[in-house]
Symmetry: C2
Subunit: 369 residues, 2 copies
C-alpha cells in the first residue's frame, strides 16, 4: 500500500504484493532441482513492468539476472526501477555472477523480495544492496514463496540433495513383466525426456539389484544416442557387490557405490560429494525405501497406455495399512506442467502434499500482505 500511496499523478500503481504475484507466476516455468524456482519482475517508477525473467535451473541465469538481461536485449534502462524477486538476491559467485552486484550495476533503486536465501554462502545479498543505497524490502508474499519451494527449502535445511523419483510404469503401475522384461515400458519420447533430465542433474541413483538385473549404463544420452555434455554421477545403493564389468562403472570415474540400504545415509553421502539434485530411478525396493522415508521431493511418472496385470509393482509396501494413511501428492505445474501427453505416454509431475499438521508459513515474516 505504501507504494500505491506514493504514486500520485499516475494511475493507481499495484501494491508490491501484486507484482510479487507476477514474479511467482513466472517462477513456476522453471524446473525443480538443485536450485529453487525463482521469478523476477522489474517495474518502473510509473508502475509499468519493464522486464521479467525466471530461473531455468542449475547452471543458468538467476531470475533477476535473466530479467536484467532481457531488459538489456530490449534496450530498456532499469535505472530507478524496482526489482521484485521471489528469493533474496544472491551475493556469491557460483556458476553465475552475484545478483546483488548485477542489480547495483543495473541501477535499480529498490529491491523487493519474498524469502531469504537459506544458504550461508549466498546470504547477505540484501545487506550488499542496502550498503549500495538501494531500498530493500523482504518478506512480501513470503508464505506463497515458501510453499512454492517447500520441498527444496526442506532439503536445504536437512543438508541433503533434492530428490526426484522417476517411475516408468504401465497403467496398472507395473515396472516389469512377470519374466522380468522391462525394456521398454515407455515410448522413445519418454526415454528422451528422462535423458534430458539426467543431463541436468548432479547424480542418478539405482539399487544394486537393478544393476544386477538390468546392467544399465545410467548415462545421459542425446536423441541420436551420443553422450550428453553433462553426465550425472552414477550412484548405486545397496549391500550387493557391483560387478567389475557392470556398465554403470563406466570409465570416467563418475561412479560411486553407496554401501547402505538407508536412503537418508545415501543422500548424506551424496551431499558430502557435492550432489544437490539426485534422481532415483529404481528398482522397486529403492523406490519404496525413499517413499516410505518421505525422502522424495518430486515425482515424475511416465505412464504407458498398456496393462500387464502381473509382474513387478512400481511401489511396494510402504507400511500403509488403511486408505486414510495413503501418501498424498499434489499436481505440480512447474517445468513442463503437471500432466501432459508425451509420445504415446502420459507424463505426470507431482510433489508431496504438505502434511496436514505442518504450518510452514508460521515461522516466516508475513509483511506486506
Amino acid at each position: 500500500m505504501r507504494r500505491g500511496a506514493a504514486s500520485a499523478g499516475h494511475s493507481k500503481v499495484p501494491a508490491d504484493g501484486a507484482f510479487m504475484d507476477q514474479a511467482l507466476g513466472l517462477a513456476i516455468h522453471g524446473v525443480r532441482g538443485a536450485n529453487p524456482l525463482v521469478g523476477a519482475v522489474a517495474v518502473g517508477r510509473d508502475g509499468k513492468v519493464l522486464a521479467s525473467g525466471w530461473h531455468r535451473g542449475a547452471g543458468t541465469a538467476h531470475a533477476e539476472a535473466d530479467a536484467i538481461a532481457n531488459a538489456a536485449r530490449g534496450g530498456i534502462d532499469l535505472t530507478g526501477a524496482t526489482m521484485y524477486v521471489t528469493l533474496e538476491p544472491c551475493n556469491h559467485t557460483g556458476r553465475t555472477g552475484p545478483c546483488a552486484q548485477a542489480l547495483i550495476a543495473a541501477g535499480v533503486s529498490r529491491v523487493v523480495y519474498a524469502i531469504d536465501d537459506p544458504h550461508d554462502a549466498a546470504s547477505g545479498g540484501a545487506g550488499t544492496l542496502r550498503a549500495a543505497g538501494i531500498d530493500v524490502i523482504g518478506g512480501v508474499r513470503a508464505g506463497e514463496a515458501t510453499e512454492l519451494n517447500r520441498q527444496w527449502l526442506g532439503a536445504v535445511a536437512a543438508r541433503r540433495p533434492f530428490v526426484t523419483l522417476h517411475l516408468a510404469q504401465t497403467l496398472d503401475s507395473r515396472i516389469a513383466a512377470e519374466d522380468g522384461t522391462s525394456q521398454w515400458i515407455t515410448c522413445p519420447e519418454s526415454l528422451a525426456d528422462n535423458h534430458a533430465i539426467r543431463a541436468r542433474i548432479d547424480a542418478i541413483l539405482v539399487g544394486s539389484q537393478t544393476v544386477a538385473v538390468d546392467n544399465p549404463r545410467l548415462t545421459a544420452r542425446t536423441e541420436d544416442g551420443q553422450l550428453a555434455d553433462h553426465q550425472p554421477l552414477r550412484a548405486v545403493m545397496g549391500l550387493r557387490e557391483v560387478p567389475d564389468d557392470a556398465a554403470v562403472r563406466g570409465d570416467d570415474g563418475r561412479f560411486v557405490h553407496l554401501r547402505t540400504q538407508d536412503p537418508a545415509a545415501a543422500l548424506s553421502r551424496l551431499f558430502d560429494q557435492g550432489v544437490r539434485h539426485v534422481m532415483v530411478e529404481g528398482g522397486a525396493r529403492i523406490i519404496a525405501a525413499f517413499l516410505s522415508a518421505n525422502l522424495v521431493d518430486e515425482l515424475i511418472v511416465y505412464q504407458a497406455p498398456t496393462i500387464l496385470g502381473s509382474g513387478k509393482n512400481a511401489v511396494t509396501d510402504l507400511g500403509v495399512r488403511t486408505l486414510a494413511d495413503a501418501q498424498r501428492w499434489t499436481w505440480d505445474e512447474s517445468g513442463g506442467g503437471a500432466v501432459r501427453r508425451l509420445g504415446c505416454d502420459l507424463r505426470l509431475h507431482l510433489a508431496p502434499a504438505a502434511h496436514p499438521d505442518a504450518a510452514p508459513h508460521d515461522a516466516l515474516p508475513q509483511e506486506g500482505l
Copy 2:
C-alpha cells in the same frame, strides 16, 4: 473430385472427403456407448457449410437431425443442400424419429455417408432416400469412420453390449488398502462423473464378491444425493449368492443376478434383456476377467494423486508373461477427452489398440478417397 469438378463459377469446392473429415471431427465430441459416434455437416450448393451437428449419445438426436435442428434454429434453409454424415441415416423410429424422413423433409438433394448402419432394423435409410429422388453416396472415408467406431461395430456384430470399464485407482494402481478400505480413493468430482455415466447407461455390473464386501447401491445419483431420472439395470455377476438384504437389490425391480463367471455369457444375457451399454465397476476378479477376454471397449480411469504401496491391485493376472504381450491401449479423445484433471484426480479415457494383425478396413468400400 466429382463435386469439385461440378463447381464451375465458384471458388474451388472441397471434395466430399474434406467435408466428411469435418463430420468425423464433430463426431468425436460425442460419448461412446449404446450408439456410435456420428457427425454431420450440411453444405450448400456453393460449398459453404450451412449447419452441422453430432450425436450426443443414446436417447439424444442423431447427428443429421441435430444438424437439421441447428439449421432450423438459425433460420437456414437446407433445400438443395448436401448432408455429409459419418453413418448411413437411419430408417427406423427408435427413441428419435427416422433420419431419412427428416432429411427428405428438410429438402436436401444429396446425402453422402461413410459407412452402412450395421443394424437390420435401421438399415434401408439409403434406399428410402434414393426412392425420394435424393442422390446418395456411401463409403466416403469409410476406413476412418470404421476406425472411429471400431469397438462399437465389433460389439454390434457380436450381438453384445458395448462395455465400459471403470477404474478408480491410486497412482500405484490400487483399488483398496490392505485392510480393504476403498471409500473413497477418488475425489467427489470423480464420483459425480461416474454417477453421470451411470445415469446414461443401460446397466452397471459388479462381481458378487464386491456386493459381499462393499454392499454398494449402484444407483445413479445427482450431486445433491437424489436418484437420477434414469437408473441403470443393476447386474451382479458370479456364483456367490446375493443376500436378500443387499442394497443392490433395491425395490424397483431393476436388478439381475447373472450366475456365471464367464464375461461373454454375462454380456449375452444382458444383451437379451435389451442392454446395449454396460459399465463394469469391479472388483478385481471381474476386471481381470473382462480384460483378459478382450471384452472391454472403453476404459475410464479415475486416478487419485495418492500412493498406497500395498492393498489390492486394480488389475490382476491376465495371463501376460512378458512385456511384448502387454495389452495395448490408445488414448481416446471422444467425450470429455483422453486426459483431463477432474477435481484432485486425473481422468483417463482409453480404447483398446487395434490388434496389429487386424485389418478391419479391408472389408469396407473405400470410395471417394
